[in-house]
Structure formats: structure tokens, C-alpha cells
Symmetry: C2
Subunit: 490 residues, 2 copies
Amino acid sequence: MSAIFEILDKDAGGRIGKLRTPHGVVETPTVMPVINPNIQLISPKEMRSFGAEILITNSYIIYRKEELRTVALEKGLHELLGFDGPIMTDSGSFQLSVYGSVEVTNEEILGFQEKIGSDIIVPLDIPTPPDVHFRRAEEELATTAERLEAARKFIQSKQLLAGPVQGSTYPELREKAASHLKDLNFEVYPLGAVVPLMESYRYAELVDVIAASKKGLSPTSPVHLFGAGHPMMFALAVALGCDLFDSAAYALYAKDGRYITSNGTYHLEKLNYLPCSCPVCSRYTAEELRKAKNKEELLGRHNLYATFAEIRLIKQSIKDGKLLELVEQRCRAHPKLLDGLKRLYTHSAWLEQFDPATKGTYFYCGPESASRPEVLRFGKRLERFSIEGSAIIRTSPVKGEKDYDRILTFKAPFGTFPAEMEEVYPFNAEVPKFPDYEALSTSLSNTIKLMDLNPGAEFTFICEKEFQHPLIEEIGKKAKLVYREAWKKE
Amino acid sequence: MSAIFEILDKDAGGRIGKLRTPHGVVETPTVMPVINPNIQLISPKEMRSFGAEILITNSYIIYRKEELRTVALEKGLHELLGFDGPIMTDSGSFQLSVYGSVEVTNEEILGFQEKIGSDIIVPLDIPTPPDVHFRRAEEELATTAERLEAARKFIQSKQLLAGPVQGSTYPELREKAASHLKDLNFEVYPLGAVVPLMESYRYAELVDVIAASKKGLSPTSPVHLFGAGHPMMFALAVALGCDLFDSAAYALYAKDGRYITSNGTYHLEKLNYLPCSCPVCSRYTAEELRKAKNKEELLGRHNLYATFAEIRLIKQSIKDGKLLELVEQRCRAHPKLLDGLKRLYTHSAWLEQFDPATKGTYFYCGPESASRPEVLRFGKRLERFSIEGSAIIRTSPVKGEKDYDRILTFKAPFGTFPAEMEEVYPFNAEVPKFPDYEALSTSLSNTIKLMDLNPGAEFTFICEKEFQHPLIEEIGKKAKLVYREAWKKE
């Protein structure tokens, strides 16, 4: 197993990994451009120039169309598409979800994918949509489980086999399904039937679905967020531990005149300017692009450039330990993404176990930053600071502080820690001049906790007049509370 | 005057304008790439391909160097640089600020700029740095004023004359200087000596300097934030009413191996990936770029692509009425920019007069969004809602609400308004599911104000359990307060 997916770098739940397939190694996180075997807006072999390392296509479409099927069986999938790198194939589950039935069995489509040389084979699972009755979700999950067990027995080649996690919008079902599949040792775990959540901007629920599935899986397994192709939510999904995405969006959106950016979608018809630096947008004006004969192709190219630039930014952010800063910025693009961000941090206790102990300087980006894993971790380890005697707590040096036994620094959103640690991660954090309410909530709570842990010490708290928070009163009960202005006069 | 600068679109303090110069019309906001007359990383004539519409160069350097001076005087500035579009010239003020003196008088350098055919002429003002004594700032400002008055008398051609606003970090001096210059009718107003503020990330003070200067100037005059070339802070500066920037950064940063993005700067040496979609970054890997023979030039090109893409995004955001959403997102790039954002909204009452009455859907991006001009405006006009009889306030429909005389909607960060206006701007706002503390502060205050304005009405407030805020108690004193859960059971 470990030979197939290797994790090289980590930040929050995100990671940079190497996925080994029969046709080569793929660096994750990445997006697989969806190739329609019938119509190609941009040829598969050109995909590498945008940054694609792996493609995905639909084996059911190939299976159903005589001329495609014959070529695929005779010359192989890679020759059919004209791409010699890794190719994943879908099974017809999507068609099943749209039309209610497909004209192929699980074994038939598995065998077909194996024969044509797919690098990642997907069984014919049941994609249960969001919001169905629990009973239906459970029943369909049982069918999916049977088919996946059969698939695991059926596929024994070097080709990778995907084990899709279903369970609708029931986190408990997703987690249960995931832990069951974990024991069957699939090589890749797609999270299925999440497209309707993304289409209706239900990012908070999407976060719960991903987190629940991840909790059931081994953290060392690669996870594919099936159907996710909009770069706007890649950072959020990567932070939760998704490694693979697939984009039909680049082409479908281009067909509709939709222009993808990492902050959302524009309609080309409504653009006065092309707000992007890609080769297409640097060369054409919005007006020229609208009138171009190959408008759809150019738009598809722009969409791919924008998509892969976001992947590179995400990978760089993981390297720099800045993934959550990126997530917090991206999630400002839409209030529903902000809901997703807030939901992400309800899982901070779980995320914390993956988050590196030391990383790039913490940047405070907003109230949600107060709930990041490293802030939580700080609050859980306050007992390591043992304080005795007289202790002064202040945001920055004050007169006469050397008369105290201990000098402590207060810094939101963390709390109170020994002044000598100011330059140490995470206390070297870059924070705004005056903390938000939420940052004060965390840091004042942690300060109260520290005081409670050290009942023998005598605390003096130098308060800033900008600290407007009900917990200040609480601090006043446990410490001598002096406002900075009054202190100066003492 | 109005013929020289025409404002076409507005959003917050930002605008899209047309600046007419002897060598053509420039659409603002825009950046003027700085051309060093001695060394050119990228040739002036190529600048158009990146999106540049106007260049800036230093007339003092040309004046001081025999061979440049001769060509400029004989063939003109435009022939010297090989660019037939608008060119602004600096006067030597920068050299004055660095070396303490220059070997030219105000009249000499003005006359020289006029003769060589500069499109925007800059007098030899005194760039007073931040943090000097008030006395010095005042004295230098007096000298600057004299020189600008002389310049205004001296330059009477069709060439545009710039009147730089100085005053160090004293907002009152900046505003005073600006109102004085307003009466002298310059065509362009640079805000001078702000580079040290930007270099040390003092964005909050920069905001105050810009706002103070703008308050003194006519809102119809074009403003140039002299020395600002990093795209990270363009959106913030544009929202305050800056129209022109100049970038030496694209070349200076390239020389140092620094890679510009709209979210900050990377060192090429430390990049594993190129997190951008521009023609350079789509073609090269980080490793290849580091090893390229023309690394500096390629990096300069990337820096220009990134810079002008941000300008296009800003212009599109103004068109869409989404400039403040962009500002709020960009200001997450660094906590000091977040300080700048918070400071921006301390000027909301002033910004509100420029902000269109109706624009694109309001997106809530964080606590600062609660202080946007449109939220402030709503709070100032509560008297237009006259409420009588029984009134129910709720976030979404509840049972039995039709028994009330008036049905009102509560939506943070705004407050309470008639339910029939839910789909009207700004109440059609996209907001997170649960409001932040700051959003509750604004909306609950406005609700209390509405109740006070309508003492005859009987209010019932259906409260959500997620609303944790001290003002809820206040609401309880003025209205019947019922939690949604309890209401269901009634």
C-alpha cells in the first residue's frame, strides 16, 4: 500500500503526495481533466502543457459505442485517447445517477476497464444523492458495499482500484462506509455523489461529508473528491485531506461561456475585462475573446490555466505551511464558502493531529483563525507553563516589569505565554494591531485557564483599553487588572 | 478640468476614469511601469503587451546625463524611450529625498520636462518622510507649496501638471495641503513620500494619509499614489480613490529574484512551484525559471503580468460593484493589511457619499463587512420605516406571523426591515448562516434604534439560539423576546 501512495509534505489535513500508477507517478493534489471520448475541446496530449499529470474518462461511454470500444479493446485506452500518462476511468455510475439504470453489470464494466488498461478502475457503485431518507441511503450503501467487495476480488492486477465512499448527507454513514472500505484495501478512495452539494453551494455540509469519510479511512490513503472541478473550493477540500479532483468544468463551462477563476465564475458576456494573467487573458481583451471564432476553445484553455495555477498555489502553500491562510482567503469569495470555513474548524481537534508542530509563521486572517488547529493545540497544553510567584501579563513591555518573578506575554488569539517565547512558533504570529472579539474570546479563556492551573501565582494583567470583552471582568477576579494608561501613571 | 479626467464608473471611493493627455487617453485605475532611461529590462514599446497604457520615467536622470539629455531635447522624450503613448516624468524629488540635494532648480526641471514633451510634469517638491517632527513637516510643506505655486504659473501648455500632496504622517497637514492645491487646479495629484509606509507595512497609516488627502481634494481629480507598485495593496488604495500607481517594483524585484503576486511576494529561490497562470509561469517550472539565462527578464515579465491582471480584476470589480469584497479578500494576505482594512472602514461615513445607492449583491466576507458604507447608510435611514401596531421580527418565516400587522425581517449585519424588501438591494445580501459577533452588534443596534423610533408599535422578536450577544438582553426590554424553539411549541 505505502508503495502506491507516498506523502511528502503536510499542512493541516492537506498533503503533497506521489501516487504510483502503471503509467507513471502523479504528484497530488492535482486535477484530472475529464476527457469526453466523443468530443475533445482540447486534445488529451496537450493537457500536459497546462499542468495535467493524469486524465479521467468514462469507460461506460467507450463501452457503449462500437467504434470506441473496438479501438480501446484492440489498441488500449491510452492509444484511443492519445495520452501515454495515467488515465482513470469512471464506470457508468454517473449515468446511473442521471438515468436510473445502465446497460452493464459491475463485473462487465470492471472487466472492460481492466482490459483496456485503465490506471485507476472504478466499480459500478450507487451514487446516493443528498437529502434522501436514511433508509434509502443505508440500503444503497449496502448494494455499493457488495459491489465493491466483488470488485476487490475481481481486480487483482497492478491496476489501481478505487473504492468510492457513499452515504448521502449522513456523516455517520459516510464514516461507516469509509471504515468498511479501509479494510478492503482499495488504492484510491473517491468520495461520491457530492456534486449536488457543490452545485447548490452547500459547502458546510460538504465539509462534514469529507471529514466524516476521512475519519473512517486511513490517513495514508489517497482521496478523490469525485466531480469537484472548480478551483474556488480546492484549497478547502485539500485542507480536509482530498488529493484528487476531476474537472469536466473547464469544458462544460466554456461551452456556456463561463469563465472560471479561483474566486468564482464570471459569464464572459458580462466581463468588461479579463481579470487573469494567463496566456489567453494576457493576449485578448474581453471583447476580442467574445468575438473570437475559437471562443469556446480559448475559454476552455483559460479555465485550465486558472485551474492548474490554483493547484500550484495550493502545493506551494502546503510547502510553506500556509495552507489554512489560503483557505481562509479563498473562503471569502462567497458567504457559503465562509460557512464551509467555519464548519472546517469545528473539526479542528481532528485536524490538529495532522498539522505539523512547527510551520510557517501564523497569519491571522479573521475570526475563524482563532479556531485553527495550532490555537486549539496551544489551549490544550497550558499545563506545560508552570508559573510561581508574582507574574505580570502584558501585550508589550511596560515599566517596572522586571520587578516581577515572571514576565508573560498576552497575544490574541493564543493567550498568555512566557515572554521569552515571543519569537518562537506559533507565538511569532503576525496578528492585527487590535484583536477581533473572537480572538479575544480564545485568548482570554486560555489566560483564565492558565491562571486556574497556577493558583499559587499572583497575576497582574495589563489591559489595553481596546479590549472590549465580557471575559475581562473574569480576569479581574483572578488577577490585579490595570489598564495600560493607569499603569503609566502609577 | 472635467475634460481632462472623466469618471465613468464608481464603487466605494474607487472609480474607472479616462485621463486625457497630449499623447492619448489612459483608462484608470492603472499602473505606470517605471522606465529607467539607462537600463531597460523590458523595452518601453513592449509594455503595451502587458496592459500598460502610460509609462513614467525620471527627467532628472535624463537631464543629468549628457547623451540622454541631448537626444531628449532634440528628438523628444517619446523618441528617446521609443514609446508613442503618454509618459509621465518625475522631477528629481526622489533623488532629493535620498541624497538630500539635487543639482537642479524647480524652474529648470519644469522647463526641461516641458521641452522634452512630458505628458505629466512633476515639480521639484519636498518629499517629507513619515514620523518627522510636526514643525519640519510644516516647514517643508510651505516650501513645497511655494514651488507648486511657481510651477502652476510656469506651466501653461497643454501638458498636464502634477501637484504632489505632502505632509508626512500628519493627516491634518495632508488635508490642508490638498485643499490648498485644489484651488491651484493641477491636473493630477500625486500623494508623495508614502513609500516608507508601504515598505514597513504601515497600511493603517497609509489609509489615513490617503483619506486625509482625498478629503482635501476635489473628488473629480485624478490621484496618483506615488511609488506604489505592489498589486497586493492596489485594491485597498483604489477603494480610497487612487487612480494611478507606478511600478519600479516589477524590475527591482526581478533583480533580487522576488516574485510578485496579488497576495504578496515570494523569493524565487524558495518557490517549489510557480503559483500563477501567466505565460511565464505556465511555461516554466520554478526550477527551470531559476536556471534560465534570462531569469531576471522572465521574472520581470511575470511581475508585470501579475500586476496588470490585478488592475483588470479591480476594474471588473468596480463594474460589478464588488470592489469592497475584493479589498476585504486581498486584505487577508497580511494582518497589517487587515489593519489597513479596519482603518478603511473608520472612514465609512466619508466613503458612503461616493458609494452607489444600488450595486452588485452585497457579500459578507467577515466582521469588517459589518462596517461597510452600505451598512452604515442603512443605519442612518431607519426613520424611513414607520411601524405601527403589532410587528413580528424574524430571520425567516414563522408560524402565525400573518396575525401581525407588520412582518419584519432581521438580517445581520444590517438589522430589521420590512419583509417585503428581502429581495431588494442591499437586503438581498449573501451572508453566512450564522452571523459573527460584529455583524450582530450592528444589526441588533439598528434593531434597537428602529424600536426606539417607533415607540407606538408592539414588537415581537423571534431569536435564534445561535445569537449570543449582550444586546439580546436590551432587545428583550423593548420587545417580546421568544426563541424560535419556544415559538414552535406555542
